[in-house]
Each structure stands twice: as C-alpha cells, then as structure tokens.
C-alpha cells in the first residue's frame, strides 16, 4: 500500500538517506530500528514532507508523488493520508484535549462540529482520556499528553500513522500506558510505521522490522528473523549493544 522508491535526502553535504526502497502492506505494523543518526526519523518525516526529500518517489494508496517536484496539492494530499505522533507530543497548547483532536477534523476534513466532536470523544475514550476532554495539555502528564497525540492522529482515520519515537521523551513509568494504547490500535489493523527504541514492543507488536544504519536499510524481515537470526554483522552488533540479554536468551 505504501511504496518508497530510491528516496534520497541530504542536509547540506551530509547524505542522510541514500536511496531508500521500502514496501509496506496494508495493516502492517512496521518498526524502524537503528542507531541515532541513521536516518530513521528523517525517513519518517519525508513520508509526510515535514522534511522535503531530494529525490525518489513516495506513493500511498492511489497517490503517487515524485519527490523532485511535488506540487503543493500533492503534499497536502499526502499529509491528509497520513498522521503523525511526535516525540514531544506537539499538542496545541492553547486548545483543550477535545479541541486538539477536533481541530484537524473541522479545519482540514471540513466535518461538522457535531460530527467531529462525536468522533473525537469516541477516540479519546479509546485512549482512556474520556475524563480529560476539557483539560489543557499543560494539566496532563506526559503519558496522557502522548495519548492525546495518538487520539489526534487516530481521529483523522489516516491510511497510515507515523510514530516518531513516541515514548522517548516519557518518564519510564509512563512508557507502559502509551505502549499499551499503541498495541491496542495495532490490533485493530491500522497500518503503522514506528520509529522506536522499545525492543520488547518491536518484538511483540510489529510484523515487519527494518534496521537502518548510515542512511541505508541494512536489513529487513519479520521480528523473529531480525531479532533471533540477523544476517548482517551490523544488525547483530546493534542488537547486542541495545539488548544484551537477548544473546543469552538464544
């Protein structure tokens, strides 16, 4: 459903993405792993053009965009097919929880306020925040804020939700509540691409793991393939560093 073809991106002289090719099927939960600076977040941000790729092709559903010369309309269309959950939540601080979720539905999708409200409440119930509808982001914990971020993405009913390190900014004891919400929506068959450092989450929930390093996809496969029998030396080294216990497990 999502196809990325020879996507490239440089910041100045630094080549961050070196011709990335990737296919994602409908309903897949894709996890992107890799050391910092490997380009995984940039890849994610290129999919909704928060970062402008230099070249290549991105297609989502029936929309194909040539990254060399995308029109404004193509970028808007791409953004309407995707939604993003950010590391630092990026909630609209001057709006209530409910308004945060409704904003996109009313302003971008032009739904009636009544309909948008109904949908938003329903999604917020799903992430366990039905009691916080009228709270402002500053009155919530980090975990609650991130769940609002997820609700905001979910309400848009996008074809794919992009998660950019959704738990990296959270206190350790709050990570669980956010992961369990992501787990729950993963089970509903929503296509997701997740950049994360949560290895257990990657193993449990995903069905397609990608390992990136130095701007290229080094290896991809099922979680079992990547975690238990990695083919590439670089993948092995990375996993060893990040989950030492796994090497004994096998």
């Amino acid at each position: 459903m999502i196809t990325i073809q020879s996507l490239t991106k440089s910041f100045g002289k630094q080549e961050v993405l070196k011709s990335i090719d990737l296919q994602v099927q409908k309903g897949e939960v894709v996890v992107i792993l890799g050391p910092s600076g490997s380009g995984k977040t940039t890849l994610l941000r290129c999919l909704n053009f928060l970062e402008r790729p230099d070249g290549g092709k991105v297609s989502i559903g029936d929309l194909q965009v040539n990254c060399k010369k995308p029109s404004k309309q193509e970028i808007y269309d791409l953004r309407k097919k995707t939604a993003m959950v950010f590391q630092h939540y990026n909630l609209f601080k001057h709006k209530t929880v409910l308004e945060n979720v409704m904003e996109g539905l009313v302003i971008v999708q032009k739904q009636s306020k009544l309909k948008a409200r109904e949908k938003s409440v329903q999604v917020l119930e799903k992430v366990g925040l039905a009691e916080k509808l009228n709270a402002y982001p500053s009155q919530l914990s980090g975990g609650q804020q991130q769940r609002v971020g997820i609700a905001r993405a979910l309400a848009l009913e996008p074809e794919v939700i992009l998660f950019d390190e959704p738990t990296s900014a959270l206190d350790p004891e709050l990570v669980g509540e956010v992961l369990s919400v992501i787990r729950k929506i993963a089970k509903e068959g929503i296509t997701m691409i997740v950049v994360t450092h949560e290895m257990n989450f990657a193993m449990d929930v995903s069905n397609h793991v990608i390992f990136m390093d130095g701007g290229v996809i080094v290896e991809e496969g099922t979680p079992t393939e990547i975690f238990r029998t990695p083919k590439e030396e670089r993948t092995r080294q990375f996993l060893k560093r990040i989950t030492p216990e796994l090497t004994y497990d096998i």
């Binding site: 808007y76 601080k93 001057h94 904003e103 500053s138 009155q139």
Partner: protein, 262 residues
C-alpha cells in the same frame, strides 16, 4: 484677575476636558488597529525571509524607532502634502487628525512588527509541524496555531505600546489638534490657571492608563487560562509563601525521621 490656586478650577477643567477624551482615545485605538496591520505587513517579509522587502522593512522599522515621535509628526504633517503635490494631489485641506493618525499608525506599526516577530519566534516549531502533519495549510497553521499563542505571549509588551501611544498622543497639540492636551493648554492660557489645568489633565491621563492597564491584565489572564498554575504576581507571592511552609514542614519531617534511624 485672581490667578492663585483654586481647587474648583480643577473640577471645572476636568469636566470640560471629558468632552475631548474621545478624540484622544480615537487616535490611540485607530493607530493601534491600523498599526497592527502595518506591523504584520512589516513583520511577514522578515519572518519568511523575502529578499529586498526584508531590508526595506528593516530600514522602515529602524527609522520609526530611531526618531522622536514629535519629529515624525512634523515630518508627516509637512512632508506628505509636499510629496503628494508631486503627483498632483492636494491634501492641504485635509484635517490635522488624519496626519496625526497616520503618524501614530506608522510609528506603532514599526514597534508592533518587532513585537510580532519576537512573539511568533516564541511559539514552538513542533506545534506548527503538528498542524502541517494534520494537513493544514501554511495560512491555517499561522492563523489557528501560531497567531493565538503569539498574541497571548505578547500581551504585556503590546500593552506597553498602547499605553505609550496614549501618552504620546499629547504631542499632537503641537500641530494644533484639539485633543485633551490641546484643550488643557487653551483652558490654561484662557484663565491663567495653568496648574489646575495640568492637574486635571494628568489625572485624566492617569485614569485612562489605569483602565487600559486593567483591561490588558484581564485579557492576559483570559488568554493564559490554558497554562496550568498561571498566576498573577500577587497570588504568586501568597503561593510561594505556602510553598515554602510546606517544604519546610517536609524537610522537618525528613529530618525527624532520619533522627530516629541513628
């Protein structure tokens, strides 16, 4: 003629000046509203890095911030008609008020553009990205996400400029405008009771300033209601007092508990 101080004159003048308050307030209000438009126009090329326009706006802002308002008033009152004569437009019959408002508008625009620039920079970039990711256009993200937050950040500085304008309108009498200052001057010279007229005048400015100040404080509190624990300085004082007491109690308890350990 008895020119010694008489309190009754103060009240008499105060009453007479009230009829001219509307002119002063009209200059302040129109110059701020129009100044906001000018300020936005001046700020945009600098925020979005538009070449040439960016430099032009910088020079404009620099000029209006770097010269006295009094000189700007003269410059525009005498200069603009000369300039328009070149293109065969005669504005010598235009009312003084028009030139006064034009001056204060341009002056406010210069200051407000800097306020807008600073406030927009203070809104965090992540929220704008989130707005784009949701599918909003640049315009929608600016109007719905950036501007409301930039406004709430800038209210205190904005209030400063409005108060400054209120006081600076007093210079307009030099062009012969009958605002409250113009009227006070003429009342003073008519009766030779200058001190009374200045007391009445300053009281009037002061009351107007306090009302404007309160209005902005109220607005600020309203705009900041999304910030948890946003408290006015007075409440903060009380709060810090309680906070200190609580902390002291906690430390005492901790100290006592460690005493038991040893």
């Amino acid at each position: 003629m008895n020119t010694s101080f008489q309190l009754s004159y103060v009240f008499d003048f105060l009453f007479k000046l009230l009829g001219y308050v509307q002119i002063t307030l009209f200059i302040v209000a129109s110059s701020i509203v129009l100044g906001l438009v000018v300020g936005l126009v001046l700020a945009l090329p600098r925020m979005y890095q538009v070449p040439l326009l960016k430099q032009l706006s910088a020079v404009f802002v620099s000029f209006f911030r770097g010269t006295p308002v009094l000189i700007q008033l003269f410059l525009i009152y005498f200069g603009v008609p000369e300039l328009l004569k070149v293109v065969n437009i005669d504005v010598t019959k235009a009312p003084v008020l028009l030139f006064v408002i034009l001056t204060y508008t341009l002056n406010s625009g210069a200051f407000l553009s800097e306020i807008i620039r600073g406030a927009v920079a203070a809104v965090d970039r992540g929220q704008v990205e989130a707005a784009y990711a949701v599918g909003m256009s640049k315009y929608q993200a600016f109007v719905r996400i950036m501007l409301p937050q930039a406004l709430s950040v800038s209210i205190p500085i904005f209030a400063n400029k409005v108060l400054a304008n209120l006081k600076e309108t007093s210079l307009a009498f030099t062009l012969g405008l009958m605002d409250i200052n113009g009227k006070a001057q003429s009342l003073g010279s008519l009766t030779n009771h200058f001190v009374e007229s200045y007391i009445a005048l300053s009281a009037l400015y002061f009351v107007m300033a306090i009302l404007i100040e309160q209005l902005f404080l109220w607005w600020e509190r309203r705009m900041h209601r999304h910030e948890q624990g946003y408290i006015s300085p007075l409440q903060e004082l009380k709060f810090s007092h309680t906070a200190r007491r609580l902390r002291d109690q906690k430390e005492d308890a901790l100290f006592n508990s460690t005493q038991g350990l040893s």
